[in-house]
Assembly symmetry: C2
DNA sequence: CCCAACACTGCACTCAGTTCCAGATTAGGA
DNA sequence: TCCTAATCTGGAACTGAGTGCAGTGTTGGG
């Protein structure tokens, strides 16, 4: 876009941060998120309006929309970054490892994120359960993770293992394997939540992924 | 309606139909759906307002909301019934069948629904891809299917097969198995769509579910 | 034949999200 | 130092979804 003249000079020349403008932008975003999450926790998601968030953060409604495209994004924005780190973790698994094990180990990144703030994760989960649209968007974001993971898993599965008697010419296996693994993760989290968060989550996930592990591996 | 006078207390007394009121209600609902889907197909989902739908259907905006709680529901309402028939199909599988095979066979109900109107299914799919909120809600609805299927799958898996060395006391296996199977279905449909709908969908699903089939079965 | 239940409508309202404009700020080059 | 262009900001006006209500039919069924 127009960042050619402005942003490039400082950023590329010194190669340090992403430039002052970008840094302040991130800071404002972060504060906006903090303020919003606090209000959501106290008043509930639906009962909190964007006007309130903006007012508490000391800015206008218009400015809010310069930082987040929607109210939902304030809550779910971090999921994009999380998906990115998941893909990274998967990429760095040893080449010989089978797809299922690699996925399980990559999930450790998410579990770590989860373990760092269990109470926050719990609160977020309850917020999702209370708002259908929010819960739906959450699922959608997680589905976006598939696409990032496909190339890595496809490489581990090989091009076309056993075409079978009636080959369709369509290979949906990588996506299915990823989907199955993510379903395990989701099931583990839900059961863990439903049971009041006793027992370590990673053990639950281990148990589940051992049960569902495809026989092909 | 001549049958009104000679009614003999037909509706309530004999317990056959759901009563005239309910029947007309269903009819209006159906027509509203037809009208809306037609407009969506011609103008696009976002570009079609509820006012338009109501106008074409010959009623007021207020009345529209008496039949559908939201615009999205017009599109996704049938998914509830579909989940119900899926659960029924699963319940009627032979008792000895393993969980994975039972799920695969139960999916035949969905494939049949799909095969009955491939073009409509394709159009609906494209509509979902074009609208994030709609796609998200679609996922959410399908997640609602889990809960209906859990009891049936839990019964087939048995209470606690092999508790493992570090038992957590949390059993997320049924949900995970269901999630994995649904992920296969979703992956098959997506790949099938992406490939332009050549090759029979059921073969793609067979291939995928054979690959992902848990080794435990 | 009656009446309670239900159907339909219009209206006013809230809130999310978009678009446009005008002014303030500031980064970085001349 | 000053200039300029990009970005940030606030505000107003707008659309459309969804809610609540109050008034007015309409009819199913006893």
């Amino acid at each position: 876009m127009a960042e050619a003249s402005g942003g490039l000079g400082l950023g590329s020349g010194l190669g340090l941060g992403p430039g002052l403008r970008e840094r302040t932008r991130r800071a404002v975003r972060a504060e906006l998120m903090t303020v919003a999450m606090d209000l959501f926790a106290r008043k509930g998601y639906d009962a909190t309006t964007i006007d309130e968030i903006a007012a508490v953060a000391g800015m206008s409604r218009s400015s809010f929309f310069r930082y987040f495209a929607s109210k939902e994004d304030v809550v779910l924005d971090h999921l994009d970054a999380l998906g990115e780190s998941l893909a990274e973790a998967l990429a760095q698994r040893p080449a010989g490892e089978d797809a299922w094990t690699a996925l399980r180990r990559a999930f450790d990144v998410l579990l770590a994120y989860h373990a760092r703030d269990p109470q926050g994760a719990r609160g977020l989960r309850q917020m999702l359960d209370g708002n259908p649209a929010l819960r739906a968007r959450n699922l959608d974001k997680q589905c976006g993770w598939h696409d990032r993971l496909i190339p890595h898993i496809a490489a581990r599965l090989g091009p076309a293992p056993d075409p079978g008697p009636a080959d369709t010419g369509i290979n949906a296996r990588p996506e299915a394997v990823i989907g199955a693994a993510l379903a395990c993760l989701e099931a583990a989290k839900r059961a863990w939540m439903a049971a009041g968060c006793r027992a370590p989550l990673d053990k639950v996930l281990d148990d589940v992924m051992r049960t569902v592990r495809p026989g092909a591996f």
